[in-house]
Structure formats: C-alpha cells, structure tokens
C-alpha cells in the first residue's frame, strides 16, 4: 500500500518535471508552468471545477454502467452460442469500426442536447469494446471447467455464477481500462455542445477566453478524472481477481 502510494507520487512528480521543462522550452508562453496551474486548481476547484468534474464523472460512470449491463450478457450469449455468433458477429464487425462520434449529431437530434445524448455516445463507444472482449473471452473458457461443474451437479445458472463470471471479470476489467481513454476523448468532444457543465465545456470555454492557465487546469482535471477511474479499476481487480498472479498488478502493489 505504502509502496504503491510512493510509486504514484513518484510518477506524478516525474510528469510535473516534464511539464515544467516543456513550459520553459516552448516559446510564446502557451504552456503555463505546473506551479501556476496547480495554484489555479486550488482556487478554481472548490468554486466551479468540482461541479464540472462531477458532471463529467457522472456521465462517464452512467455510460460505463449501462454498457456493462448491456454488453456483458450480450457478449456471453454471442460467444457461447454458435447460432447467435453466426448471426451477430458480421453485424458487429460492420458497426464496431464506425467512429461512434460521427453519430453524435443524430443522437443529439433524437435525444436532445442534454445529458442523455452525451451518456449515449460514450455508452456506444464502450458497448462495442466490451461486447467484443466478452464475446472472445467467453469463447475461450476452457471446456474442462464447464465439464467439471456439470459433473458436480451444476446447472447453467451455476455455470454462469461459478465459471463464466469469474473467468470473464479479468477480461472485462482490462477492456474497461483500455476503453476509458477513448471514452474520455468522446465525452470531452460531446461536452463542447449544448451544455455549460463538464470539463469539456470548461476547457473549450477557457480556450475561447485565451486563458491558458484555466485551460490547463481543466486538462489537469481530465487527467485526474482518468486517474481516479484507473485506480478504481485496479482496486476492483485486486479485490475480484486475487486468484490471478497478474504481473502488472504485482509490480505496482
């Protein structure tokens, strides 16, 4: 725990050093020094930034929860059934590569400019990633586990509970980890339309005012938001996947 904390602090310090070097080296003063941004963060966070961060975090959490609720059962169904796989995989392969952000105008027409279209666009991004990951992982569950379970008297419900769920959780978590980056990018873009809440709006608005310190404060918040999500996923992985010897996790443990 202590080592993990020290590692995190060390990483942040190195990042601040790199940032400071860029601030000094890049001419024109477009990149403010980390110290100035940090001070601004202390001033702005209690006033407005906390609310903007909360709005973004709320949207991304809602999208994440919805995508897991929808994509995990669908992925298991497609992965475990030959018929469903044959029907849905081609559809999936057409829809998956479509940049979901291109659908934002349509979503805004259908669901309005408010939160629902923003949650939906992030949902769409995560849904397909989770669907593909869960489909592949559930196809790869070794048959010996399911045979053993049946020999112990297990039904399909037991197989879902005692074999599929534990076997899929690592794949789901690492897919969410990968998807978070894209999700934040899409959320940022969607927040530049039709809202005055969220980090996307805050950053763009600061840019319009040519206030680079404010803009970087917003970017810092976006980074911290991502960090919070990653730490949450790592926490879940440590709790739920104790049985795995994960080299990545044991390195930061």
């Amino acid at each position: 725990m202590r080592a993990r904390f020290l590692g995190l602090m060390g990483g942040l310090a190195a990042l601040a050093a790199l940032w400071w070097a860029l601030a000094v080296l890049v001419p024109g003063g477009f990149i403010p020094a980390p110290g100035a941004v940090f001070l601004r963060f202390l001033v702005l966070f209690p006033r407005a930034l906390a609310a903007h961060s909360a709005a973004s975090l709320g949207r991304i959490t809602a999208a994440l929860a919805l995508s897991l609720l929808a994509a995990v059962p669908a992925g298991v169904a497609i992965g475990r059934s030959r018929v469903l796989n044959r029907v849905f995989s081609p559809i999936l392969y057409v829809l998956y590569p479509v940049p979901k952000i291109a659908l934002l105008p349509i979503l805004m027409l259908l669901f309005g400019l408010g939160d629902s279209s923003k949650v939906l666009i992030v949902f769409l991004v995560l849904f397909f990633q989770v669907l593909v990951a869960v489909r592949d992982a559930s196809r790869e569950v070794p048959p010996q586990f399911l045979l053993s379970l049946r020999s112990l008297g297990g039904t399909r419900r037991h197989a879902a509970l005692y074999v599929l769920a534990p076997a899929l959780i690592p794949a789901i978590l690492s897919c969410v980890r990968i998807g978070t980056g894209t999700a934040l990018a899409v959320l940022f873009f969607s927040e530049t339309f039709g809202t005055r809440m969220g980090l996307g709006w805050f950053v763009m608005e600061s840019w319009m005012r040519m206030s680079y310190v404010d803009m970087f404060t917003g970017i810092l918040c976006l980074g911290l938001l991502g960090l919070a999500i990653f730490l949450g996923i790592d926490f879940l992985q440590r709790r739920l996947c104790r049985w795995q010897a994960d080299p990545v996790l044991s390195a930061i443990r």
Binding site: F145, L147, S148, S151, L152, G153, G154, Y162, P166, W243
Partner: protein, 262 residues
C-alpha cells in the same frame, strides 16, 4: 464369473454396452463394452487419440453415446449424478476458488448449509493431507497438491464411482507413487469403485483389478486383463508384475502393427 451373473448379484457398478460416440462427423468410440465392478479399480490403457477421455465423459453422463447404453448402478446414467465423481486432466480445479472453495463447490451447488459444507470440507482436506492450505489458490500449489484437492473435491460428494483422466501423468515419480497409494487407500475406506484412464502400463498394472486395453481410432476394446494382486508394493517388484506389463505392451504393439498393415 461371467458378466450376466455379476449383473444379477449387483456387483457391477458401471456398465457400458456397445457404446459408440462421435464429435460431429468424427467417430471417437466404436461399440465399446466394459464394466467396472463395485469397490474395484478398473484401468483403461491405450495410445493417445483412442477415445479414452470420451469414454470417461460417457461414463459421467456428460456426453450421450451415439449408440449403446451406459448403466450406473443398473440405471441409465444422468449428467451430474451424485454417485459419480469426475477428475479431469489437469485436475479441473477452478483457479478462482481457494482450496476450501473448490472442495465445497459440489456441496454448495447441491444447497448444503455452510456449516455442513465446512465440516465436510475440513474432513476431506485433512484426508488428503492439506490442512493449513484451505485459503490458498490452485496456482499456489504444486501439481501433486492440486491433484489432492481434486480428489478431496470429488470425495466431498461421497461418490460410489470415481472417474479419473490421467490423474498422475504430470507428476514426478515420488508424488505419483504416494498419490497412487492415497487413492487406493481412500477408495477402499469409502468402498468406492474407480475407473482410471492412463497411458502408463505400469500404473494400470499397479492400480487396476481389471485392465482394459483400448486401441484404434475410433477406439474399441482390444483386450481385458484380470489382475488380482493389484495395489501391493511387493507386487511391483515381482516377475508376475513385469510379465503382465509385457503382455499388455505386446497387445498394444500388436494393435499398432495391425493398424499400420490396414
């Protein structure tokens, strides 16, 4: 004693009659008939690809034969019959459950109370000599220890027939021998019958009251050997042991030759 009289006396625990099995268009077993007597150990030897594992899946009721019948205790076998325990290759342990969780799982599925589960698991874990390992995960155990957990898990449901697929093939010689003895002793204590698949002729002759030789692809029964002196350590050093091993090997080699000629 002929099969018919043993059947009348209820000495037969498991009986496969003229069983065939296939995976899609590929036949795995062709008209296999064999029996396992109550409280006896039967071993199946044969080259890889002759359908040994398929045979165990039929015996466990996990795969339906394409022809023939599988009777357990005189009745048609059904999937998940509590009287039959199955230990697959690589032990089939669930890596996400601890030793305790693995051993308790069959009881949990059958809705046993947690107190009862705990009590049975403690008994079975101590029977295989793994006290103190209850909260470890399978990856933290050696191969021999994992096999012990698999045996404890199967025994927790008190089966009358234990099916095992190459249970000791991945172990070093010393662990293998101590586990073979543990298996014979515990089966005798519980009055359980065993059907064990192996590719080691020596293992089959040490463990099996009866040794069935499977050959060909799809597999069929090529021979049956009685072995009344199984399970004694001295027997392992005697000429009779080596003679029986030699006979079985000769039959298997003959079958291989036969296949080549065809």
């Amino acid at each position: 004693m002929p099969t018919s009289s043993r059947r009348i006396l209820c000495l037969i625990m498991l009986e496969l009659s003229e069983c065939s099995a296939a995976y899609g268009p590929r036949a795995a077993l062709s008209s296999v008939s064999l029996e396992v007597d109550d409280r006896r150990t039967a071993c199946i030897v044969g080259p890889s690809g002759c359908g040994k594992t398929t045979l165990l899946l039929l015996a466990a009721g996990l795969k339906a034969p394409s022809a023939g019948t599988v009777l357990f205790d005189g009745k048609r076998i059904t999937s998940g019959d509590r009287g039959v325990g199955l230990i697959l290759q690589q032990y089939g342990l669930f890596p996400w459950f601890t030793v305790q969780g693995n051993v308790e799982l069959g009881l949990r599925i059958r809705g046993a109370s947690s107190g009862h589960r705990h009590c049975i698991a403690a008994r079975e874990i101590s029977n295989v000599g793994l006290e103190g390992c209850e909260s470890l995960f399978p990856r933290e155990l050696s191969g021999g220890q994992q096999q012990r957990v698999a045996i404890a898990r199967a025994y927790a449901l008190e089966p009358r027939l234990l099916l095992m697929d190459e249970p000791f093939s991945a172990l070093d010689a010393l662990s293998r021998e101590s586990l073979q003895d543990l298996l014979l002793l515990s089966a005798a204590e519980r009055k359980a019958a065993i059907l064990l698949v192996t590719h080691s002729i020596e293992e089959a002759v040490y463990l099996g009251h009866v040794i069935w030789v499977l050959a060909g692809s799809p597999g069929r029964v090529a021979g049956r050997f009685e072995n009344p002196r199984q399970g004694s350590r001295e027997f392992r050093q005697e000429p009779e042991f080596f003679r029986l091993c030699g006979d079985i090997r000769a039959l298997m080699e003959h079958e291989m030759e036969h296949k080549k000629v065809k």
